[in-house]
Symmetry: C2
DNA sequence: GAAATATATATCGTATTGCGTAATATATGT
DNA sequence: ACATATATTACGCAATACGATATATATTTC
């Protein structure tokens, strides 16, 4: 059982804000070079806002592969390090990424407009 | 029962992208002038990306009031038009909005960085 | 030697959100 | 009589991010 605060919590909001955005960030990372899950987690966690845990990144990668956006292959690592599952982007993934970028541009436009609008006095 | 496509769908993605963002948009609208639900729905629907239905905007307004970000009051309308429930922003709502704007700036910074990074060839 | 840490992947269950569908109520237009 | 516009509300579903946990190996620390 967890307490349900009667007040807003900015951390809860940023969790919601990540929905969809993480998928976009991960495809942007894999777009250039194949990546493995742990690597993605480490690289994204440099920005606190989009930091992710294992329980977020691994299911997301599997889903993107299931949906045809990613391919995967196993690769042995140096001694003592477990093998890594690399994900690479597919043609469909690149196409999807283009649409995402277009929608992202629209969203930032809308927000820029709303933020400016609401600042100007009536 | 609904079909579960094995491929990505940009409309499903934009639905996820709205999570959290809609809350931000609505607070930005109410920030300046008190608004009623139907009005918010109409105004947001001018941008296809953040168009909302009644089933989205009314629960959201109630939640924001429950969490202390909004106050509400009923007001009679012109003849024949049902009374309207107006929502106005509270001090806590304004404070929350400031934090949201800060997080939104961070998010756009991260995405701008990732988009630029992944375009440059290795 | 035992314990903690880093690397690396995976699963289970939960909370929250946006939304489809539908109900309710009033007045106007056709 | 029927559709449309205005306005609010309730029910239930699908998807995502995440906390907690499990597994396995090698290095570091006590």
């Amino acid at each position: 059982m967890r307490k349900q605060p009667a007040h807003v919590n900015i951390d809860d909001w940023t969790t919601q804000l990540k929905k969809g955005t993480l998928e976009y960030c991960i495809l942007l990372l894999i777009r250039e070079n194949p990546c493995y899950g742990y690597e993605i987690m480490s690289r994204l966690s440099k920005w606190p806002l989009i930091a992710v845990k294992e329980s977020t990144v691994y299911p997301l990668l599997r889903r993107l592969q299931k949906d045809g956006c990613l391919d995967s292959y196993w690769q042995e690592s140096a001694e003592g390090i477990p093998p890594r599952k690399y994900y690479s982007i597919t043609q469909e993934g690149r196409h999807y990424l283009e649409m995402m970028s277009s929608e992202w541009d629209s969203l930032t436009d809308v927000l820029a407009h709303l933020r400016k609008e609401s600042r100007s006095p009536a």
